[in-house]
């Protein structure tokens, strides 16, 4: 039975490894399945000014000098 002739086994296995683990995986890894578009809010939130990002001590009414 010619399948049992082991002289050709190394080249067959080598070519299979190249095909399966390199070529096919490179092709399939490029498949891109985009997600369904999600509804997002049309209104943009108010941009935060730098001094409003941090709550500083001077805003406490009881700590104001007057």
């Amino acid at each position: 039975m010619p399948q049992l002739d082991t002289s050709t086994w190394s080249i067959t296995i080598l070519s299979m490894i190249i095909t399966l683990f390199l070529m096919f995986q490179l092709k399939v890894s490029k498949y891109y399945f985009p997600e369904d578009p999600k509804p997002t809010l049309a209104a943009t939130p108010k941009p935060v000014t730098p001094w409003e990002k941090k709550w500083t001590k001077i805003y406490f009414p009881l700590s104001l000098p007057l």
Partner: protein, 226 residues
Amino acid sequence: MNENLFSSFITPVMMGLPIVIVIVMFPSIMFPSPNRLINNRLISIQQWLVQLTSKQMLVIHNQKGQTWALMLMSLILFIGSTNLLGLLPHSFTPTTQLSLNLGMAIPLWAGTVITGFRYKTKASLAHFLPQGTPLPLIPMLIIIETISLFIQPMALAVRLTANITAGHLLIHLIGGATLALMNISAPTAMVTFMILILLTILEFAVALIQAYVFTLLVSLYLHDNT
């Protein structure tokens, strides 16, 4: 007669060059890689089929098992396309070679077993002893479970080889019989031709089913071990 029958399974060598490399790599030409945002119809259909198959096959796995998605998908594409291309007349089918199937089955099976050993050592060793066995049966059962574990890659490889080889041999034999019967009696040749057509339809199914079975079993071994 013997030599002639098996001659299509000899690894093809043309003038000393092993063109089996080219033949094994040929099915990957049938799957062009997507380069655009909107691809052509062929790539879109293949991408849709891969999505369908991967959803079906990966639903039983957890997070760890789903990292094997790329491997399983390229495996089923490789085996399926190789088997289908082998149904063309006078073509060489690489999956009839035991070497190729062993080379696929042993590393994949070993990968699943080693993954199981590394991450769930106790659980993967516990597979050797089913629950609720009577005490005297334990040594024999462990031997049996070990044998059944180690026979898994062999069974994977030999199953694929034997199925595809047997199908191709039957097509050769019945085709030869039809040809020989044409001179003797035309109605018998028609009957044999019908058998050949039915067999070819079966072989199309077998080509795809064998790819599916191989991948499914690898996925099952993976499921046991993740």
